[in-house]
């Protein structure tokens, strides 16, 4: 009996990993229900709403279990979605013993959250190429890369002191605009708008929007609306941060 509770808890862990990594609600619920069924639960009702998860499962033996989970932090991590997906496929083919299941989930959760140099590289690549993609010169690209490093440092610092995401976005966007303007002033950058746009691409909540759209189509309207609203708030925060600086410097493009 105790065993089943542990298994259900592991399944919730797997669901939580998916949800915090940015998977759609439909996928989270589907994965958890499938895993539960492969462990001998006749029926598993899973409800996931952006910040919380509830699962009630009826085991073959007649035991009925309910567990809930509060979900807070999220950070897009496609690799993790992929790993949990692979684990769930394996479990559905042949259920792993509890100890192994727990170990596998722990392994996925503990995996280093992306080497920091890869993230640095990603920031440089995104900011640099998009500044030029939108018509900036090579010098604008370099200036955008320098600004993106500021975004990275601020992001890390913000996570460290657990700043509210929206506030962090405003701070990031404002300081990035200011630095971009300085770059143009000292003559490194040429087009303020291109430098800023390259960096805006880093801040824009593209994933959140796509995920919430897919949530809404999947019938998870509540999660979808919450996600879409969060994305909208983020976009407004980016614009507000930029506006703060542009109002001071005039924003001559």
């Amino acid at each position: 009996m105790e065993q089943n509770e542990q298994i259900l808890s592991c399944i919730l862990d797997a669901g939580e990993l998916l949800l915090t990594a940015g998977a759609e609600v439909g996928r989270v619920e589907d994965t958890m229900a499938r895993m539960a069924r492969s462990y001998g639960f006749e029926r598993a009702d899973v409800l996931t709403i952006t910040a919380s998860m509830v699962v009630t499962a009826r085991h073959r033996s007649g035991e009925i279990l309910t567990q809930t989970r509060r979900v807070t932090r999220r950070e897009t991590d496609m690799r993790r979605i992929d790993q949990v997906n692979a684990l769930s496929r394996a479990v559905c083919a042949a259920p792993l013993p509890l100890e192994q299941l727990r170990a596998r989930i722990q392994q996925i959760a503990d995996a280093p959250n992306g080497q920091s140099w890869t993230t640095v590289l990603a920031y440089l690549l995104v900011a640099g190429s998009f500044a030029m993609f939108f018509g900036g010169s090579v010098r604008d690209g370099i200036a955008a890369m320098i600004c993106s490093m500021l975004l990275y440092v601020l992001g890390r610092a913000g996570a460290l002191v657990q700043l509210q995401p929206i506030v962090l976005t405003i701070v990031q966007s404002a300081s990035m605009c200011l630095t971009a303007w300085l770059m143009v002033q000292i003559g490194l950058g040429q087009a303020l708008d291109k430098i800023v746009i390259g960096n805006i691409m880093l801040l824009i909540p593209g994933i959140a929007l796509v995920t919430s759209l897919r949530d809404m189509i999947g019938g998870d309207t509540i999660s979808g609306l919450l996600g879409a609203f969060e994305a909208l708030l983020r976009a407004v925060a980016i614009a507000a941060g930029c506006a703060l600086v542009l109002m001071q410097v005039g924003g001559g493009a």
């Binding site: 998977a23 496609m78 496929r89 190429s129 805006i200 593209g206």
Partner: protein, 149 residues
């Protein structure tokens, strides 16, 4: 022409950058990068034929989402992991900035124009994704029904 090629390459690089940001690795980086290139190529093509930015965004999103659904099934990976990086070149970061700039400068007319454009672009991308997701789900259901018969 050179500008277009450059844009394609840069769009692909941006897509790879985003994939790195989302902790993707190995072959998926290449697929996402090429997907980003395909995405912008579709946009340029549509823009060439219809000369309408919002419509071109819609067609590009439609084609890319379809490509992502197919590739995800081939690679046995969740659709969203490929779809998001591949769509990145369409993200209207530029027009969001110009909307803000117009607002700050008090240029109501340009603010309305750019604001409309951003909303139109975001809507076009969303509609493209929605259409493909619904289509794929329906087709899969039909296939499953025929199989079970």
């Amino acid at each position: 022409m050179t500008e277009m090629v450059l844009q394609l390459i840069l769009g692909g690089m941006g897509a790879v950058g985003f994939s790195l940001l989302f902790h993707m690795s190995g072959g998926k980086l290449v697929v996402a990068g090429l997907g980003g290139v395909a995405n912008w190529a579709l946009y340029l093509l549509a823009q060439h034929f219809y000369d309408d930015r919002v419509l071109a965004f819609f067609l590009a999103a439609l084609g890319t989402a379809l490509l992502a659904e197919v590739l995800a099934r081939v690679m046995k990976t969740p659709v969203i992991t490929l779809l998001v990086p591949m769509l990145v070149p369409l993200v209207p970061g530029g027009d969001l900035y110009y909307t803000t700039l117009a607002l700050v400068q008090g240029d109501v007319e340009r603010f309305a124009d750019y604001g409309n454009l951003v909303l139109g672009e975001a809507g076009a991308i969303s509609f493209g994704i929605i259409l493909v997701t619904c289509l794929v789900q329906t087709v899969l259901k039909i296939l499953a029904l025929r199989k079970s018969k």
